[in-house]
């Protein structure tokens, strides 16, 4: 039984390996290899849109991997590779879009929403505490007494 579990665990790991890129490019320089892999994870495949170039099996992803490989080998820096892709496919290819007026709401929207809710919550809190703190006027006290005769009689009894 235990052996069975071991085997199925190993098989699960193996499926993960099969899922990796079809024809991986390898570099002799580990620094270039690391840069190549970082870039593949930063770029989105346009065919299967929720996969990065590193994960995707689409033909287009293979072409783009080849292109990234070519550019990295040719000594181009990361910014140049990203610029190349954005020029052709737009900001959509970037998993982390550039901070610019068009993407401000994307980058700062959640924070803005948080502050908006925080301010609203603070104001509601302050208003309700103000209501609790204000003593009743004699008129209000009389109306309350009329509404709550039992509480009033209880008060008198004590």
């Amino acid at each position: 039984m235990r052996r069975f579990f071991c085997l199925s665990f190993v098989l699960c790991l193996a499926t993960g390996l099969v899922g990796a890129a079809d024809t991986p490019h390898t570099f002799t320089d580990p620094a270039l290899q690391a840069r190549y892999e970082t870039l593949l994870n930063e770029l989105r495949c346009l065919v299967c849109q929720n996969q990065s170039l590193a994960d995707s099996h689409a033909d287009l992803a293979q072409d783009l991997r080849d292109e990234v490989y070519r550019m990295v080998t040719a000594g181009q820096d990361n910014a140049a590779v990203l610029r190349f892709m954005v020029a052709r496919y737009g900001d959509f290819v970037l998993y982390r879009p550039a901070v610019k007026p068009l993407t401000w709401s994307l980058w700062f929207g959640p924070l803005g929403l948080f502050f908006l809710v925080a301010i609203l919550w603070w104001r509601i809190q302050r208003q309700s505490s103000k209501i609790l703190d204000t003593p009743l006027s004699s008129d209000e006290r009389q109306r309350l007494a009329a509404l709550l005769p039992t509480a009033d009689s209880h008060d008198n009894a004590s």
Partner: protein, 177 residues
């Protein structure tokens, strides 16, 4: 009055979600609109010895259709392209994308050839420079070689009438003036 604020928030939310539902998540706006078409030097599909370059784009507005024999959606729009070329005399330049000469030519022989000229791009290099990601794609390029419109996915008579025909007419009027 008390319900106005939640009602307004609800209304805004419904409007935003309704717009979101109508958007096509597969549509990626092209950064190439209003940019010059990329330079290239590739052979013609019909003749390996004829070299086509960006110069073949200039002089008049044209429709550039990216297609391949392996692309099933391309066959859907093929009859429309043939009828546009034959009945209306629309000049369509083909970009045969990541295909083989034999398969591409066999398809044109069988289903008709709507293309005025065909650029043969077996490695997909021009396709890459044009940001092609879902064949078929159709570009409208003006007489100065500037990309004015991009359609991703098969053309239909409705899309042609709505997006491309008016633009092409406008560009032609400008080119003629």
């Amino acid at each position: 009055m008390k319900f106005m604020v939640p009602l307004a928030i609800f209304g805004v939310l419904v409007a935003v979600l309704a717009i979101g539902l109508k958007l096509d998540p597969r549509y990626v706006p092209s950064p190439l609109i209003d940019k010059a078409a990329p330079a290239f030097s590739l052979s013609a599909l019909e003749d390996a010895n004829t070299t086509l370059t960006k110069a073949s784009f200039s002089g008049r507005p044209l429709v550039l259709n990216v297609w391949a024999s392996w692309c099933s959606a391309c066959r859907v729009e093929h009859p429309l392209l043939v009828s546009l070329a034959q009945a209306q005399g629309i000049e369509i330049t083909g970009l045969n994308y990541k295909d083989t000469r034999e398969a591409a030519q066999a398809l044109l022989t069988e289903h008709g050839n709507p293309y005025h000229q065909n650029i043969f791009d077996p490695a997909g290099t021009l396709g890459l420079d044009l940001g092609v990601y879902g064949v078929p794609e159709t570009f409208v390029i003006d007489r100065d070689g500037i990309i004015r419109h991009k359609q991703v996915g098969p053309l239909t008579p409705e899309i042609w009438q709505r997006d491309i025909a008016p633009l092409l007419a406008k560009l032609k009027a400008k080119a003629g003036a």
